[in-house]
Amino acid sequence: MSINNHDIRPLCLSGRGVTKVFGIGDKKTVAVDHVDFDFREGELVSIVGESGSGKTTLAKMLLGLISVTEGEIFYQGKPRDIRSRKKKKEYWKNIQAIFQDPFSSFNVFTKIDTVLLDCIHMRGGKHLPKEKKVEMMAEACSFVNLKYEEMTNKYPFELSGGQMQRLMIARIFLLKPKILLADEPTSMIDACSRATILDMLMNLRNEIGMTIIFITHDIGLAYYISDSVYIMEKGKIVESGTADEVILNSKADYTKRLISDVPKIYEEWDLSTV
């Protein structure tokens, strides 16, 4: 397991021996098996694996939605403490997530204005004048190429999938968390809108210096977007390193298989390997 110690950027989120076991006795499933990782501040990391490899379980543990069976997660170098509800809320101010399905990410009863206003209030902007709040909302909308005038007084279900996912990023822009966890944010979106979403994630990182953890099964996407890549197979991390190292000079057989299974354009696609 190679962990890059030469990077001088401070550690943001790291884990040692993180394990999650579901069930007991005969029905025991080890979803995540003694995983070590180091995510540094302002880094764009991808976690790649097939369905059932434990990426989403790891994401849920990072978010603090489910408990860790064994091992420890460190936040900014110190062991993460989210035992009480108050501390958990404090932690969630620093970590936010975008999920796969934009349609089920929003409360259908609240208007888009309310969604965005809530974000401003969470950042302590409750006492700001109304004009300032509108200005902030318009800025967030223009960051994700949406028009604020078209968004007011609408409900989330009146938007298309791509627009909803962009609205989700506008929320993140207002909340400015330290870490953003994006769990397959583009898998339900068609290829043309995908490029826009990826660009916005990169802008978030470049402009705000957010640490982004990008979870995907598409190794091509991971290569395009990230600084470093972690490959997961059956709950274990089989390979990690910078994107160029892992994709262009991959050592693990699993990584090689993942790469060869992506349909290519410039070379023959070998169907006999499955």
Binding site: E50, S51, G52, N145, S160, G161, G162, S187, I189, D190, A191, C192, S193, R194, A195, T196, L198, D199, H217, D218, I219, G220, L221, A222, Y223, Y224, A243, D244, I247, L248, R257, L258, I259, D261, V262, P263, K264, I265, Y266, W269, L271, T273, V274
Partner: protein, 336 residues
């Protein structure tokens, strides 16, 4: 040239909304497939790909309505048949469909073999269950699926396995045309490859004579189909063979689609992805001129004035744009 299996002439279908507005989701589409060939349809969400698939099957249930045009499958015009005849005589034997969410298409309370019995009995009630089981077992083994799947319930299968089972069930009667509507979009790369291998297998063994493959993943289409058709706002904007469409796209929209491809190869990180700005037009009030003009970098005022016709430019290729082919090629060359 082989025999034409499927021929569609000027097919137009519309949705009628609650407010009595007409939305023409498929607008004067013509296509034909020769025996043993496959056709890919690409385009972004909401461009009418799935509606075209439903229309081809004669699946006209409100709010979808048939307007005009002909669908000829192996010499039989199905466009004016009533839904009952289509269900009894056409679906399953002439044309079969794999829906987008095939993963959820299986009833969780029934074993897989029951679905196959249902399909066979709908067309020929006299076949015995024993015969059906033997036939299904043989077919499953030939397609590389374990035959014990037949005795299982849907919940016992993984996503990729479910998808392959649905494909095997829908092609059990050896249809002439198979329409696959995004069969692999929800799967990871390895399961996707298995699905593609199975579809190829079906074609090679002659169980299906031709295939229409709908997806928004262009690298996949390039590897699976012989021809590619790009749709935009209910219309075909460009047609050609897979190779021509990927390496020499002419229409600015096809060019934009090709720009959004990502593959894990050297050099991917140096090229910036080019997204097409804006959103597709509202089909309740389609623009009078070229439908892509609003989002096109090369559009002039002339483009917005009158509708653009699909033009042939040799070798069976056609495109829908006012700008000359050579001029567009020149422009793309200079951009690189």
């Amino acid at each position: 040239m082989g025999k034409k299996i499927l021929e569609v002439k000027d097919l137009t279908t519309k949705y009628i909304t609650r407010f009595r507005e007409d939305v023409y989701a498929v607008d004067h589409v013509s296509l034909s497939i020769v025996e043993g060939k496959s056709l890919g349809i690409a385009g972004e969400s909401g461009c009418g790909k799935s509606t075209l698939a439903l229309s081809l099957m004669g699946y006209y249930f409100p709010p979808l309505h048939y307007t005009s045009g002909d669908i000829i499958i192996d010499g039989q015009n199905i466009s004016k048949m009533d839904p009952d005849t289509i269900r009894k005589n056409i679906l399953g034997t002439e044309i079969a469909y794999i829906p987008q969410s095939a993963m959820n298409a299986l009833n969780p309370t029934q074993k897989i073999i029951r679905f196959i019995e249902d399909v066979v009995h709908a067309h020929n009630p006299k076949v015995s269950k024993k015969d059906i089981y033997d036939m299904a077992k043989k077919r499953f083994e030939e397609l590389g699926l374990p035959s014990n799947v037949l005795g299982k319930h849907a919940v016992e299968l993984s996503g990729g396995m479910k998808q392959r089972t649905v494909i095997a069930i829908s092609t059990i009667l050896s249809p002439k045309v198979l329409i696959a509507d995004e069969p692999s979009s929800a799967l990871d790369v390895t399961s996707q490859k298995m699905v593609i291998k199975m579809l190829r297998n079906l074609m090679d063994k002659g169980y299906i004579k031709s295939m229409i493959f709908i997806t928004h993943e262009l690298p996949l289409l390039y590897n699976v189909t012989d021809d590619i058709m790009v749709m935009y706002a209910g219309q075909i904007v460009e047609k050609g063979t897979a190779k021509e469409m990927v390496f020499d796209p002419i229409h600015p929209y096809s060019k934009g689609l090709m720009g959004s491809i990502i593959v894990p190869e050297e050099g991917t990180r140096d090229v910036k992805l080019t997204a097409i700005p804006g959103t597709p037009p509202n089909l309740k009030k389609p623009p009078s001129g070229c439908r892509f003009a609003e989002r096109c970098k090369y559009a002039t005022n002339e483009c917005k004035l009158s509708a653009v016709e699909l033009k042939d430019f040799g070798n069976g290729r056609s495109y829908r744009c006012l700008i000359e082919v050579e001029k567009l090629r020149e422009v793309y060359k200079n951009e690189h």
